[in-house]
Subunit: 518 residues, 2 copies
Amino acid sequence: MASQQNNKPQTAAESITPRATDYGQWYLDIVKRAELADHSSVRGCMVIKPHGYAIWEKLQRELDDRFKATGHVNAYFPLFIPLSLLAKEEEHAAGFAKECAVVTHYRLKSMDGKVDVDPESKLEEPLVVRPTSETIIWEQYRNWIQSYRDLPLLINQWANVVRWEMRTRLFLRTAEFLWQEGHTAHATEAEAREEVARMLEVYADVAENVMGVPVIRGHKTEGERFAGALDTQSIEGMMQDGKALQMGTSHYLGQNFAKSADVKFLNQNGQLEYVYATSWGVSTRLVGALIMTHSDDNGLILPPKLAPIHIAIVPIYKTPDEQARTTAEAQAVAAELRQQGWAVKVDDREGLQPGAKYYEWERKGVPIRIEIGPRDLEKGSLCVVRRFVIEQPGETEPELRRRKKQFLPRAEAIAQMPALMDTLQKELLERARIRRDQRTRIIDTLEDYEAFFREGGGFAWVHWAGTGADEDTMAKRYETSIRCIPFADQIPEAGRGPGACILTGQPSPQRVLMAKAY
Amino acid sequence: MASQQNNKPQTAAESITPRATDYGQWYLDIVKRAELADHSSVRGCMVIKPHGYAIWEKLQRELDDRFKATGHVNAYFPLFIPLSLLAKEEEHAAGFAKECAVVTHYRLKSMDGKVDVDPESKLEEPLVVRPTSETIIWEQYRNWIQSYRDLPLLINQWANVVRWEMRTRLFLRTAEFLWQEGHTAHATEAEAREEVARMLEVYADVAENVMGVPVIRGHKTEGERFAGALDTQSIEGMMQDGKALQMGTSHYLGQNFAKSADVKFLNQNGQLEYVYATSWGVSTRLVGALIMTHSDDNGLILPPKLAPIHIAIVPIYKTPDEQARTTAEAQAVAAELRQQGWAVKVDDREGLQPGAKYYEWERKGVPIRIEIGPRDLEKGSLCVVRRFVIEQPGETEPELRRRKKQFLPRAEAIAQMPALMDTLQKELLERARIRRDQRTRIIDTLEDYEAFFREGGGFAWVHWAGTGADEDTMAKRYETSIRCIPFADQIPEAGRGPGACILTGQPSPQRVLMAKAY
């Protein structure tokens, strides 16, 4: 007997603001109610709670496996960068200058009964807390690279970085965040550019096939490039409010950092040449992307590949005898599912109604819930509830709820679990793609453009041949920006080919992706 | 035909100073020649190179698996601690005050064509770069803990920390280092003390059964306790120069941090009570312990459980035909060994003599080398070379070398690999234990004590009933300190029971462990 109990939150502390009411508050509620992160007592810095960190660990593993499969190794470089070193590559320094946390002293002192910074411990040279590590890493590479035989050098670092932000939002933008940064050195431009493309595709693969977030791949405009890069490529996802989120970037740095750090190598012709560089990174921001892409008004929704718990089993009972029997069955089913490799939680907590348990696991994004009541025992069946289905137009909440739930013979329910998880993983991507496509338009006039963004907006494919100043105009008028100049195959077929710039009317070789953005 | 080629380093850059000549330089040479770490351009901060980082990653996995198996989860807390927060627990703040890196500004500015700290970006409150995270974590726990149902809270963090050190040594003592710090909250003192013991044993297990480093478990003296702890327990290993290295610590913090952060819980009797705390940590220092315990004058020696590469296979040839056949066989053998789960490197680099290859893999600590020459192909045999054997008294270098090498029928060599790796893993621990015991004495007079340390020293088991000032006396006279007050079962049987203090003659209930230390 699968319960029909109330599925609503039990207390105000568990309630989630609906997306339609206040999208920003909805996001914050999900982060808090799913226990993913908390604000800390340090301005702009967040605490990643165990459930949020477990998701990040799974993402790390997926990424790290792919980095290693493409020949990269991990290493670790210092947290601090001497100011003079950061300043060496001018454009780079200028790009990060406004958000650098700076260490100036190295000791505290008790003065007048109060602990304070010891003024006598002032550093000769201030140390910048790394906002990114190009400068400190290339300083090291000078000692590691002598000849073409030392290349390519394919190194990744998992680390924390700090960029002092005035407006922060949990996971999406915080002063300190966790990330990985790849820093590679190559003998030729062609090889470095191949690396940039390869790693962007690794990110796109993880976004789509692990996170279930479809992305557009393309180049950033000159104004949006990484400080010091000749080309910045990115993957852009669409969140449920129609805004774009930059999820990962891969940079071709040319010889800029090699020149400022004086890293030359002896090429195969016996000539000294500056090394070609790339860097690429994704961060804990991806957890924010995950939340904003899939979650609903009941809480977090996780793809099976990133779920710390895959299946929650809730025994349902009224009498002690029923409790003993349904709990034993829950444990037996759990054991069989663990054999398949799933992380299974048997929720046998006492003093909590099944409805409250259902709600909690929904809130935390567990992909599958199994309910086991006395009638299920008699019938030899299990009630298997999916966390989501792809919504049909005009479908009501009770209809949706019915479609999520299946009563299956026990053996069948267990045997089908791998296929069901696979379905959830794929349908999550499909659902996100449907939503994105519903909010994507090919637009040729400013009137249509304005109307589109007035009515909620999304991704606009428009022709563009404007200047940086023209981009500013679009930003001021519509709060939109060029998210990327996409690779040709990323543009919808109906929008391919040349045309006229939506603002200036000048000829444009292909459309660009415009949107509001995080 | 396994080669008899020269096994000596090819260039000065590869040479390693013998231990007997200069132990400190030997250590540094191993770190550099095995490509484990480098000094950086930031004072006191090191760069962990890919080979060193791969060892750390394996150690992390071994530790993390054990933390999770004992019910802990990972989370992440901010890098920065507001000065006032750090200062809350007085003893703690005093303990770390002299080694705190402090962030005072958050922006750079180009002034007179030079990038410098923007004086207008001064922070209202300075931020300390975490030397350890008790204060920032307990600040958060206040919001997470209300009742006994929220306990125990068993959280671990993998992070970087900074302790400004004047004298640094790669891995052993650096200004920034990587570590894990467990921070747990409990409803009772008994439960918290159990946790302290449990995690110390997890560390001892990893030290002995993963790293192959035998350790003594015990309590620190009052003067050596963690700042803010009521009890600090540690594991102490002996390095090859006879000095002790503290490899991990586990602290019982009582209610100190709960009081300073005001973390109370409603106990089962409905009363508000302060929470009981523990913390425990190990760091990248363990890589230093690994090096100093096992390595020899030829380079690093790694236990199979921590080796990034388990087996290096070197084909030996003179003609192109021999090259093709031995290399094909090397690949075939590698494929079979990878099936067993080993990380195998086939060293088919051209232009390098086999001897140079042997030396390189020895230097990097690869546990097993397989040499395949044309005669081995004819015979259907493999030459299997262990990285080390347990030395016999009076044995010469050529004798040692012979004992490391075995010619085995191909199938047998492959089939025996798991057993051989298991042997290496165990013998590394046994070898370290033999060395330690050879340099361990039960000592009852200051004359014997002085002679022991004059002649090289090691671990001295002595009776002790002195004061803190008496400890200082021993430190000044002999440069030794009490490494721990050991758990009773850690004392050699011949040294158990009460006695008289070696310095004061006062009655002592049991012996303590004294040594010089890192």
